[in-house]
Symmetry: C4
């Protein structure tokens, strides 16, 4: 379900996605851009494929889990209109990933999007002194376009696949006539930790690609603010998954065992 | 998906369901009636909620898992037209049980069915010397109608619920204006075994309720034939569920863990 | 599937939800109000996302798992028309929670509902001598409206999220233009126990908020009646989930492992 | 979702399916035929029932998981037009198998297909010196047609069922008026290994059945090429399933435990 507050008029906009994931690289990078550029929220998405709970903000306010769309208009030459996508979470179920990606792409296509940048993390299993920004693209054309940036395009050697929105928005996007690139920040990938260092590296290239100069001095502060919230959602999701399993002593193995016994 | 070969003209028909379940009481009882009465198959149902495999009959012939509808026309006074429902399996998923029951009921309602008899097994955990036939109904009216038979209506004390088709066809049926009764044959309920003794007990009452006399002398032989086939389907379902889990050494716990990592 | 017996004409009604959950606070509180106020049932909901079994009432009568809608008309000034929602269970699957909440909200919106009160339990892990009633709201406006009551609005500190109907009816409700409050009674949260003490505390505030005086002297008796039934459903759900897993010795881990092996 | 590049005009075409599975017999046999015959790709299928990730080809290029349709036109008498179906994967969920099979069959029926050949592997649990090619059919008519080939039709004795596309395309196909045969190459079935020896045996009979002569000399080389890719997808699927389960220390047992706790 996408709820549009106000449909912006945009000129050849590019979609930049950063949802929670490994190291929360995308979430942090896009969150920082939205804040610094003062991008405007214009639409929200919620889905039956998200966790079935609401969160409490400021201790008392109920909020549905959501993804948010923001737009920002080009200020000068070399820049272009941008739609940012970020949010609380991704799909809980495998096929929900496909359904939500389809919905997002159909929506932004209607706003004129023909190019997509997605941002994710690449778990290396090691603490990276100098995290690289890896890249993968929908076609050689895009590879050429972006090869002048400090992006390592040998992702395939390291990981071979991209799960969830960061991957499917490009994979399904291509089916809908959109091209794009996925930027993956190297990160340790330990039990889900926000990695601002890797996010900054990704932001360095992303802002250059978009012709935008960002003051990075507030990143640390902003990450701390965001991290608190991101961690909260992660914790709640884990808690939600485990709470019942502790309460029930019975060897529950799953609903699929609830077959006919009548 | 229900595929109708030939739509029979029936007068106030009653639906008698016997699908695989605890002790396979329903499957055996209805299977025997179909064979002895030479009821005619007129429709088949298959569903995406069944196990995703086909079976091999006579070693080489491929058959989709199915439920089958048969009809039998009343031969004399005191009898009524009957639609029998039996088959290979029930739903694999919980919500599939609801979807299939809705489909079945809408179909038989279109054929004039206003009353439903379902047959199941009640696992007692003990070997029963004299298995009782338990009963539960959709209303007091039906209780009165059938209380003259040797049916023990204190099911609630023993089990409290009826899972799958035997329960939902009556529960949802009532929502659609149908009344009915569920006959449950007591059976040990050990690792799914066909219990012809309990099935025969249920048949004794069922045939009386329907005004039909059946020669029970062939039951043993028929059960042996059916049992071979029923056991095969059960084994295949178990095999299908376990095969992969043995092959994979990885601690796979379920698709729901496949959340975003990109 | 919502089945309407009789569509009541209500004046600016408020929805008060109390379905089974932690401590069954909501179920008990709303159940008691319905009984004491002699509210009238006017609609029922059943869903393919519920457990696929029927229950046996009074030992012999088959009943589908359901949620029930009741209405009560204001008797004097300071009161308002109320729609109560209670029932046997909530969704078995995560996305079912969203689907059912959407269905409920669309239905009551059609009856004029603009405000929603949901009631749940907050598991503290400790036996509470003096259980607090916690509160969370859809907006500051509602916070102001209800801050004069003995409701602790620092829920976020203690739990951070509300799972299932109590949360989603408010979260999704807000998307549909409804405001509301969730009252959470503190309770130990041990293996699912009905907590009448906490429910009474919630009822104290709830009745004040609704301008209703209730004789609480029958609560204990009513809770005992309800508890027997609530416990039965809980036990059946657990039993349904575990029964098969005991029967099958094979290391069944879930249907998701049933991938292609042909 | 089936995306047609170019709808070929075919004369009484036969569908030959070879998707990944036990021993990857079908995948290898059909992949080799496509390469040697230079069959033309004309349509692609992707599905929300596939794993929710994209793969990286050539280290940098993003590709959605897909199934592919190719056609080849008869060159001389005794041959017929062929539609080949192969691809990266099959459904992740049980009911996805049914949905995808239905979609494929409706699509090829529209292209005139009345006969289907599916190819799979039969896990024997032993290293086969001389792997047999087993066969099962939709009817006696087809059995007669193909009994002159070296196909062992006593499959039922050995396995009893065929899971996934190889089975359902024939089982559901029959419901849609198509006949067909499933060729199963005997293979050890150890933790999913590509078995070119068994695939070659199947190809021997398959090419005879289709009146085609293939130069088998390149099979070894081609299999090595394909194997690298097939293994990659398998590894990614396993990795995707296990990665999160390692990261989370909490005893997550499945989404079905995420029931109401609010």
């Amino acid at each position: 379900m996408i709820k549009v507050k106000q449909k912006p008029k945009l000129k050849n906009p590019i979609l930049v996605e950063g949802l929670p994931g490994v190291g929360n690289i995308g979430r942090v990078a896009v969150g920082y851009m939205i804040a610094e550029l003062e991008a405007k929220e214009f639409a929200q998405l919620y889905s039956k494929h998200f966790f079935p709970f609401v969160m409490l903000h400021d201790d008392y306010e109920i909020r549905l889990l959501k993804n948010h769309f923001y737009y920002w208009k080009a200020k000068k030459k070399g820049q272009r209109d941008i739609i940012f996508l970020t949010g609380d979470c991704q799909s809980l179920s495998p096929y929900g990933h496909y359904e939500i990606a389809e919905k997002i792409l159909d929506f932004v296509k209607g706003l004129g999007v023909k190019e997509v940048i997605t941002i994710g993390g690449l778990a290396t299993g090691e603490l990276e002194e100098e995290p690289h920004t890896m890249g993968s693209v929908t076609s050689k054309k895009i590879l050429k376009k972006y090869k002048k940036y400090k992006i390592d395009f040998n992702v395939g050697e390291k990981v071979g696949y991209i799960v969830g929105a960061a991957g499917l928005l490009l994979g399904i996007g291509k089916e809908k006539g959109m091209e794009g690139i996925c930027l993956l920040g190297e990160t340790s990938g330990f039990p889900i930790v926000t990695d601002p260092k890797s996010a900054e590296k990704v932001l360095d290239e992303l802002t250059k690609m978009l012709g935008i100069k960002l003051d990075m001095s507030r990143l640390e502060k902003r990450v701390k603010e965001m991290e608190k919230f991101i961690k909260k959602v992660e914790d709640l999701q884990k808690k939600a998954l485990t709470q019942i399993s502790k309460e029930e002593k019975a060897p529950v193995k799953g609903k699929e065992q609830l077959r006919y016994i009548g």
